[in-house]
Amino acid sequence: MANRTSTAQRPNGATQGRICQFKLVLLGESAVGKSSLVLRFVKGQFHEYQESTIGAAFLTQTVCLDDTTVKFEIWDTAGQERYHSLAPMYYRGAQAAIVVYDITNQDTFGRAKTWVKELQRQANPNIVIALAGNKQDLANKRMVEYEEAQAYADENGLLFMETSAKTAMNVNDIFLAIAKKLPKNEQTTGPGGSGQGRRLVEGDTGAKTAGNCCK
């Protein structure tokens, strides 16, 4: 899957820019809002009764960052613990991950920490991990303090934002922050972003590189 040939489409407006493709995976306990975050980011929609995800769903979205066009290939996974065995199939080879928890539920934060640990241990060593405290619109029912999550994120070198798929708060921002942090050339540094084996190519003259999907 990683070395398939994919056609990078040039979105409107991005004429001269470089096109960069990244695989991003969403992880987290079920019903924390993973699919809702993706739906908000990709289609600008929100469904109150978003159906549960079985297996995984796939969506793409492109964002423009200065002169670079970043195309996210987003794998939205099933949250139920039982589907855990499928997860490696999706985070394998991913350059970015958003680990989501629900700020009104302490257990989901615990589960998010386990996901972070698993990613740090088993995923691509350069993976950019973002922590998203979702359902910020329900802040009056908050069970996970902002400071607590921020401290945890700092300790582990994660991007962190509280988001709300319902109000769209910080949804685009967290994806943009990831896009910024993702190494777009080999000089990029930063936690988990040495950019090894990743190459960025101008426009469509893509040279295929085995083992990653940046083209």
Binding site: S6, A31, F58, R82
Partner: protein, 837 residues
């Protein structure tokens, strides 16, 4: 003469069928009201929007539909309109008791009978913990035979004791004093109904409405004033109305009965049971016991629910009728704007829409269109023959309405066709389980939507002890799975009113918990909720049956899918799916293979939930109608037919486009999908899709064993069992091409009848080009939909050859499992030896 007789018979027939159809009790009417709107906060504690009160009412009211009692009007339907409007359709026949007052029409004997029947009706309600609360002479309907039917008895129940509406549920004069004193949202108990009964009986014995000149407030004051004083309330009412002579003439037992009902203290009023045991009703009790002694229960040719359903199909529209009668009026939205809205959402200066008050009017639904439409249907159609041994009788049977050429959606909307189908299935279901084979046969034609739940249960072979089994299962004890179930239920088919109602959530949860508890070897996988939803929807008032259906469905189609570790089962299933695609559509299979678009990425939710997670309910129904008639391989064919429908798009797309297509599954034409699934299902040898993990009970033909998932994934073409090959050779030799890939020497010694020898060594597997087969290339090019069976031995390469054919886009290639040698012992033989050549 003969003609005259025939005409006469026909006349009698149509007269009787007219009487059947136009039975006096086969009538219905509707009332309408508004549910209370949520004020202020719109989200519940879980962040989800609050369930609209009309949906809660909708869910609660379903139970009322199950009540069938001779003295209660049957509830038929609940319809939700805009702005929390709720319409309740129920049986409505006869005249309100109030119409009989002051006409001197009812004798004391009649009144006793009425009292008895009201009590029987109330008793049925009170047994179900339903309080009428609204009992008055307006909603006690008297039939022509002077039998009684209580009407609108469910309003208090469905509105959760009046909490879900903004008007009080009571009839001023008839409401018991405690109803006023406790506040309007109190949990009135059944004793309030006894008071109302007392008032009704008082009116009947006096033969006049009480205090009919008083205004509303005076009326309430009057009732409350009754609490003062210690003398008999009944007597005081009598005196106020100057009817003491009548009072003195009353039989003492009736007097006592009314007296007891009109007791100020609810606890001192008798219960329905106590009253029914009194001597006053002794004379009515004989008839009741008689009917119970019958050996078998007679059944209705059709029910009121069915009549209502046909009426709707014939163009009947409750909403429209209510509009015609002025019960539903639309006013310009600008008139309902408030003067001010505070930022917190509080609304000020909004005039209350008078329609949100209680509207007591009832609109009788006109049935003439239906009568006209069904006028020509002969009596015999009401009693279709199910078993007939004589051909003459069978010929006499008039051909039932023929609509078989019409598309399914049209047939489902055709009142006359549905009439015949419902009548037939109703009869067959009464004979279940003995009529199961006939039910299956008829279900192959189609399934009438109204009886789908019952027919599915019959197809799934549900035994009749399912209720007991369900009752005994622990559905309450909390388990670790609860959190998961709780977060999944509010996301499961929530566009549906039933499943999004509170009652729907509770029921779904109980069924899921029961299933987990009953099947300790399995665990809850997300998706089980979606799988349960169709059964719950169809058996909403019969949880036990929904559970029984689920419990029968899973072993049949999803054996071991819900094991804690189900990866092997799913992998095998998906590998088989890939092989099936290759078998029928090599071009598509090769394309998907090339772009690495494997079923693991998109088909897990399809098969794990039998498509119930990816389709809306109305599509699932049509799909499962056919699924239930097939075996566990049918879903694979459904999967294939979905891919076939999207074939052009898939062939022109790369990986990303393909997977995006499935993330948001485009509109699938389900009828086409079902037809195509049936076609491939019937044209595929069973062993092509056989799995080692399918339920052993229905795998008697299984002759392929011992294949690992790794092998399966490697083999791009499916194996076929010797059993199937022998069957094909013997019965359908024109449908197959057998290619023997052993060396010519072995082939000439002994081979399968009609087989062609293309030794493996003679082919150069270079480019995917059929010309590599030399003289035989023509044979393969012209195989046209024949099944190509590769026969080899252990020494020959059984993977390369079929794989090459697949790459050449040759369909229906399969490999004989076990190789040539498995055919040796089979008798009578399908082989020929050298001598015979």
């Amino acid at each position: 003469m003969g003609e005259l007789q025939q005409n006469l018979t026909q006349y009698c027939f149509s007269e009787t069928s007219r009487m059947l159809l136009q039975h006096r009790e086969m009538q219905f009417g509707a009332i309408t009201f508004f549910a209370k709107e949520h004020k202020g906060e719109t989200c519940g504690s879980n962040g989800l929007p609050l369930t609209p009160n009309s949906i809660i009412i909708f869910g609660r009211a379903q139970l009322l539909k199950t009540i069938k009692h001779p003295y209660l009007c049957e509830y038929l339907d609940i319809i939700r309109g805009k702005h929390e409007r709720t319409i309740v359709v129920s049986q409505y026949c006869g005249e309100p008791l109030s119409h009989y007052l002051a006409k001197n029409e009812l004798s004391i004997e009649d009144i006793k009978r009425i009292a008895h029947q009201i009590l029987l009706g109330l008793n049925e309600l009170h047994d179900r913990n339903i309080v009428h609360r609204n009992l008055s002479t307006d909603n006690v309907l008297l039939q022509e035979n002077k039998d009684v039917k209580l009407f609108n008895y469910g309003l208090f129940y469905m509105t959760d004791h009046g909490k879900l509406v903004s008007f009080p549920i009571l009839k001023t004069l008839y409401a018991a004093p405690e109803v006023y004193l406790d506040g309007l949202n109190n949990l009135s108990n059944s004793k309030a109904d006894m008071w109302s009964l007392g008032i009704i009986l008082t009116e009947l014995v006096l033969d006049k409405p009480l205090w009919n000149t008083l205004k509303l407030s005076q009326c309430i004051r009057k009732i409350l004033s009754l609490m003062h004083g210690t003398t008999s309330i009944f007597e005081r009412i009598i005196r106020e109305h100057n009817c003491y002579e009548k009072y003195q003439l009353l039989p003492p037992d009736l007097k006592q009965l009314i007296e007891d009902c009109l007791n100020i203290l609810p606890k001192n009023r008798p219960t329905t049971k106590q009253l029914l045991e009194r001597d006053i009703f002794k004379e009515f009790q004989n008839g009741k016991t008689n009917s119970k002694n019958k050996i078998y229960q007679t059944f209705d040719t059709f029910t009121l629910k069915e009549l209502y359903y046909w009426w709707q199909l014939a163009g009947g529209d409750v909403f429209l009728e209510l509009k015609k009668q002025g019960l539903i009026r639309s006013s310009p939205p600008v008139l309902s704007l408030p003067n001010m809205i505070l930022i917190e959402g509080a609304v000020l200066g909004q005039e209350r829409n008078p329609a949100t008050l209680y509207e007591p009017r009832i609109v009788q639904m006109p049935l003439d269109t239906l009568y006209q439409r069904f006028a020509h249907i002969p009596l015999s159609s009401y009693y279709p023959l199910i078993h007939s041994k004589s051909e003459i009788i069978e010929k006499f049977e008039p051909p039932s309405y023929d609509a078989s050429d019409l598309p399914l959606v049209i047939r489902e909307k055709d009142p006359e066709y549905q009439f015949h189908r419902t009548i037939l299935f109703r009869r067959l279901l009464h004979g279940y389980p003995f009529t199961r084979n006939r039910i299956i046969k008829e279900a192959q034609v189609d399934i009438p939507p109204l009886l789908r739940g019952e027919i599915w249960a019959a197809l799934l072979n549900i035994a009749n002890n399912y209720e007991k089994e369900y009752v005994e299962i622990d559905k309450q004890t909390s388990t670790i799975t609860d959190r998961q179930i709780e977060v999944d239920i509010p996301r499961c088919h929530q566009y549906n009113e039933l499943l999004s109602s509170g009652v729907g959530h509770q029921k779904l949860k109980r069924i899921l918990k029961a299933w987990i508890c009953k099947n300790s070897q399995y665990v809850y996988w997300q998706g089980l909720d979606s799988l349960t939803a169709p059964f719950l929807y169809l058996n909403f008032n019969n949880e036990a049956k929904a559970f029984a259906c689920l419990s029968a469905f899973i072993p049949k189609y999803l054996h071991n899918f819900f094991l804690k570790d189900n990866s092997v089962i799913i992998q095998e299933y998906l590998a088989k799916f890939s092989q099936l695609i290759a078998f029928h559509d090599p071009v598509l299979a090769n394309h998907l293979q090339n772009i690495n678009f494997v079923p693991e990425l998109f088909a897990i939710p399809w098969f794990l939930t039998m498509f119930s997670h990816v389709f809306p309910l109305h599509k699932i129904f049509h799909l499962w109608d056919k699924l239930l008639l097939g075996d566990s391989s049918f879903p694979l064919h459904v999967g294939l037919s979905i891919l076939t429908q999207l074939r052009d798009t898939l062939l022109n797309s790369g990986f990303n486009e393909c997977i995006l297509l499935f993330s948001d599954l485009p509109e699938v034409d389900i009828e086409q999908c079902v037809c195509q699934s049936l076609e491939t299902y019937n044209s595929t040898p069973k062993s092509i899709t056989s799995r080692s993990h399918q339920n052993a009970e229905n795998a008697s033909e299984l002759h392929i064993t011992g294949i690992t998932v790794q092998e399966l994934n490697r083999e791009k073409c499916s194996r076929i069992s010797a059993n199937d090959v022998v069957n094909l050779v013997r019965n359908f030799p024109h449908k197959i091409v057998i290619i023997d890939i052993r060396n010519p020497l072995q082939f000439s010694r002994c081979c399968v009848k009609g087989s062609v020898n293309i030794p493996c060594s003679s082919v150069t597997f270079g480019d995917a080009n059929l010309d590599s087969f030399g003289v035989h290339s023509g044979l393969l090019k012209n195989a046209q939909n024949k099944i190509i069976i590769i026969v080899g031995t252990e020494e020959t390469d059984l993977e390369l050859f079929p794989k090459f054919l697949l790459q050449c886009n040759i369909p229906k290639v399969c490999v004989l499992h076990g190789g040539f040698n498995v055919l040796l012992p089979i008798t009578p033989t399908v082989l020929i030896t050298q001598n015979q050549i």
